[in-house]
Amino acid sequence: MTTLELDGVTKTFGAPDAGGVVAVDDVSLTVDDGEFLVLLGPSGCGKTTTLRMIGGLETPTEGVISFDGTEVNEVKARNRDVAMVFQNFALYPHMNVSQNLGFGLRRENEDRSSEEIIDRIEAVAEMLEIEGLLDNTPAALSGGQKQRVALGRAIIREPRLFLFDEPLANLDASLRKTMRTEIDELQSEVGITSVYVTHNQEEAMSIGDKIAVMNDGRLQQLGTPSEVFNEPSNQFVAQFVGSPDMNLYEGTLTENGDVYRVNVGITEFDLPSGLVQAGDDVLDVVVGFRPQDLFQSRTRQTGGPKIEADLRVVEPLGTEAILYGETEGRAIRATDTQFHDLDEDQSVTLSIAPEHIYLFDANTEELLKGRLMTEREDTGVGEVEVRDGAGAEVRDG
């Protein structure tokens, strides 16, 4: 049971002034006891390096890593009592499953009786449903089975922390979904503080209690999945989280009495000033529409701005489709369930509820207005009910 804290952690590979790489740049975050934190970001942004520093496989160049308030920077990996699941499993090829599972237990305490070790191995094998594989070598296992053994090797020691480095990346899509749920359940069951690295935002959203979004070695935002989705701290987070990508348009914001007038070229609309955290009169802004928030006017009244778009491609995904369109020379993406009667090349009217619109400062890329959730979403079509104030009241989506 451990609270993990990173304080100003920086990792530079090579000499900083001689073309060294700053892999992790001044990252500070706290993971509470029993919490499941996902480190999310594009490849090369420093997630693995961060994880390895927590595990003790790398030493921070600057900053402090502490477990329960005790600095561990100088504590060797083998003494940290942290378990790590590697992307390519890293099972010991010359040991059978049972030996792989027991290896850490034996290292922890050489005197531990073999009955105790065998009991623990069997308990974990049962939990992960790999009882039948204990005598197999890793070479004889499928990807999913290897993954389970790797998980077993981590949980068997009941460590202070679990670290996962893209543990599902080497599995096929359907297995990925199952294992994702299993890891989630397993972690809630054992309640061990966990840090999980992935570049897959969908995985992050579904598995994390909290998500830390990283880019270029820097922490962009730390928040719950819905905070990250609805109130992304900046344009990068907004674009990285959510799929398909958010539509972004440059525009201007003008104060006009108790409303702000937003002009984006493709459309123009007013926002109640209470929704926007902006001071100046006129501001260059970037406006964001999530494809999920854009509806065809004929299917749903949003009460917000309307956008005329020429459909280019309709990409069915089963119950819904991604509509790729063009409006005034700008691309626009929307998702909708009513798509069967749509022809590519016809024009549609899309609209978005004002509270779903994102606004960013064009210069700093910081968020000015996030996405508010409304009652309307439960009931489907209905009157727009804009809440007061920007102190976004967020429910789980």
Partner: protein, 308 residues
């Protein structure tokens, strides 16, 4: 597209009529012929010769003498000393080469910079022509101006120069030193490549599992290398037991037979005493030992392929 193009040629049809069991051997026929002429025939010839009294001075008068040569091998007054020498030569030489080679390979992998340059340098003893290497050692072990004597005296190990190559008690050891010098690099390179072949992430997994550096070595490195080590060990045995040049150049097997190993004795029997029949019988002894080594070599080799 015409089906005529797809039809079997008359050649293919003829091949089709050959029974499956025979057909699979057709492609290897040329190789089989080469092996027969250059390997199997000489072996058969040697086996035959070992049952004759063939003498190099009258090679055409060889007569079949049954197992007489083998009886002579058994009763030969020198054979026991030679076999003992061979045993010492092979076991001490192989073990020393392995230990030194392993440490060297490990250093190349873990500690020394410029691995490729360093391994090239390490390989010099192995690529140097055998006789050249042996001559260098002969010179270094020389009784009056040899650097080794000088070194031992300086170090206080001995009081005065010792004629090691001419002493019945010591003469086997300088060639062993030379042989270790020649073989250790090979083993070092083998060690280096098998160390390189171990996934670094296994060590990280072991570190996370709480393994100390020694435990990582003991439970990851060694077991991961075990087949390579066994292969290397068998190679050392095979190279050592077959070696002739190191001993011959340094001591000619003498004084007496004090530094003679089996190959040296065979050479002496055949080309000094001209008793080819007797030499062939001795060769059969060596052949049998090599067969055993090779058998295990192939066994291990197959096992490796089964595992990866």
């Amino acid at each position: 597209m015409s089906y005529a193009d797809q039809a079997l040629s008359s050649y293919e049809r003829a091949l089709g009529r050959v029974p499956d069991g025979v057909r699979v051997y057709l492609p290897i026929l040329p190789v089989l012929a080469l092996v027969g002429v250059f390997i199997l025939y000489p072996i058969a010839q040697a086996i035959w010769t070992s049952f004759t009294d063939k003498h190099l001075l009258r090679p055409d008068e060889a007569e079949f003498v049954g197992v007489e040569n083998y009886g002579e091998v058994w009763t030969n007054p020198q054979i026991h000393e030679v076999l003992w020498n061979t045993f010492v030569w092979v076991s001490v030489g192989s073990i020393a080469a392995i230990v030194i080679g392993f440490v060297l390979g490990w250093l190349l992998h873990e500690k020394l910079p410029y691995t490729s340059v360093a391994s090239a340098i390490v390989l010099v003893p192995w690529v140097l022509p055998r006789v050249v290497g042996a001559s260098i050692w002969k010179f270094m072990f020389g009784g009056s101006q040899g650097i080794i004597n000088e070194l031992l005296v300086q170090l206080g190990v001995i009081d005065d120069y010792v004629v090691m190559l001419g002493s019945t008690e010591l003469s086997l050891w300088p060639p062993i030193v030379g042989m270790v010098w020649r073989l250790a690099p090979l083993f070092a390179l083998l060690t280096l490549t098998s160390l390189k072949g171990i996934d670094r992430q296994l060590y990280e997994a072991a570190r996370m599992d709480g393994a100390t550096p020694w435990e990582q070595f003991r439970y990851v490195t060694l077991p991961m290398m075990r087949y390579n080590l066994v292969i290397g060990f068998l190679l050392m045995l095979i190279y050592n037991i077959r070696n002739f040049s190191m001993v011959w150049v340094m001591t000619r097997g003498g004084p007496g037979v004090s530094s003679s190993t089996l190959p040296v004795m065979i050479y002496r029997a055949a080309f000094v005493d001209f008793q080819v029949g007797f030499a062939s019988a001795l060769s059969m002894l060596l052949f049998a030992v090599l067969l055993v080594f090779s058998y295990y070599y192939i066994q291990v080799y197959d096992k490796i392929r089964g595992e990866f």
